[in-house]
Symmetry: C2
Subunit: 292 residues, 2 copies
């Protein structure tokens, strides 16, 4: 037995809360602000509490209203996306893609011309974002993730392993501190990515180096920043060789030791489980599988 509040009132509340305005909600829903006011009142009576605090000509959400809005928005996002997927045109040639900023600038954008040449009538809408997506609630079609591939409830397709090599500015090679053998790293600054300290630990272990601390360390919040810091000569970072190939070729970065860390992580193409692929998604998947 399910207990749900009056759903039409909820729909009106969500709009009013999102706009912080009954008038704006009325416009969005094609009803008068009076209808909005009545529906909100109905919902507040049902719940036995206030969702808005009224102040002169404006309304503000109460803390309860804020909490409720968060959940109701989530729920309506899911309904909206599910409805959209059900009614979506399988022939669509537009694909919404989400990738990490680092991947976008270093790998995808340099190859965009090739994709467009091969698939001239497929249109990519690309969003740069970190972290995982909730495919129940996003309109994004596909994403490129990196990690161990163990994500539940989504379709995960292996693209390519991540192979990390140390990279630094050529300035560091010309500096007064030597950088000729892995042991020399002890006298340099190691650049880590937050939550991925193990990368350097594992690389050093694999290289047969066993030391407790380097001269110093620098912790960055993302791989992109870590690589940028290396380019600035701030120290040595570990980076995926494919993502930094352009910088290596141009001489902005050098690889002091060609020792690759074979991580258990890789790039993966992901999308919602059990989702039939549109023409655009099929094209993008096919291209990613062959290009990487």
């Amino acid at each position: 037995m399910r207990h749900l509040p009056p759903l039409n009132a909820l729909r009106v509340f969500e709009s009013a809360a999102r706009h912080r305005s009954f008038a704006a909600a009325g416009k969005e829903l094609f009803v008068t602000s009076s209808a909005v006011s009545h529906q909100v009142k109905t919902l507040e009576e049902y719940l036995g509490l206030s969702l808005f605090s009224r102040s002169k000509r404006t309304v503000a959400l109460t803390p309860a209203g804020e909490q409720y809005l968060t959940s109701v928005r989530h729920a309506f996002d899911e309904i909206e996306m599910a409805t959209q997927r059900l009614t979506a045109n399988q022939e669509s040639k537009v694909v919404k893609i989400s990738v990490a900023p680092n991947f976008l600038t270093r790998w995808l954008m340099p190859r965009m011309a090739r994709f467009q040449a091969l698939y001239p009538d497929i249109e990519l809408e690309i969003n740069a974002s970190m972290g995982l997506l909730d495919f129940d609630r996003t309109s994004t079609d596909m994403a490129v993730y990196f990690g161990n591939g163990e994500w539940d409830d989504i379709e995960v397709h292996f693209l390519r392993k991540i192979m990390l090599v140390p990279v630094c500015s050529p300035q560091l090679l010309e500096g007064e501190l030597p950088l000729e053998k892995p042991e020399d790293l002890a006298k340099h600054t190691l650049i880590y990515v937050r939550k991925r300290k193990w990368e350097w630990e594992n690389w050093l272990h694999q290289s047969g180096v066993d030391f407790i601390s380097a001269r110093g360390s620098l912790q960055m919040s993302s791989g992109q920043l870590a690589t940028a810091a290396a380019e600035e000569g701030l120290g040595v970072a570990l980076a995926d060789s494919t993502l930094t190939s352009r910088e290596i070729k141009s001489g902005k970065l050098v690889v002091p030791f060609d020792i690759q860390l074979d991580t258990n992580r890789a790039f993966y193409l992901v999308y919602r489980k059990q989702r039939p692929l549109t023409i655009g998604m099929k094209a993008f998947k096919e291209w990613m599988m062959s290009e990487m």
Copy 2:
């Protein structure tokens, strides 16, 4: 601008789909089956596709209907839980707890009498389940998780570190294969938990043992099964010393080497972020923090 289907029709669809019956849905919703039939028809017309396939006196969900039900259920679960939280009695003395089966039988149940003595008017409703919960959609109040504590969007409170020691049946000590030094493990079966192979790898590394393979290995799907397999004399498992203290005391299990693996994992008490705690939740939290 949000696009939602007719929500009352959706509510009726969800009930009919969940029951696989218009008649049952009518009973649940206190309307006639005719109303259900009309509402489902309205929704199918809106979507432009069928959600049910009709066959004589019964209905079955179409694949589209199944997909839609999954999402709509999720969404309604969230609305229902959010509404419940908003209207919940903060004075409630009933707490719904979810813990792993291993933790329940080995740690919580043996201490239940103590909890009830200390908090006689608090009622625990305990559910044993594996994996993480979605606190947006569950009515469970609190859970005990183990892991690295890095879970986003929930309130995480450290309880106690997990310290793993090797355990086995006393039979193994009396067997013909010696088990006196960690190196002797090479001739025994190591019992792993799926996805946690690193536990043995790290323990061996910490013990100064460096061998590539043992005589064999046995992979179990849960810690509970791994410990049970050890009790059966099938090999050596790694187990948390607190969880197995009763078996160790009773002699069902022995600790061949008192070398504890200091993992980065621990037990944590978790609940929904920003949720005001009921009296029952406060009591349970207080007790867990002091008891562990």
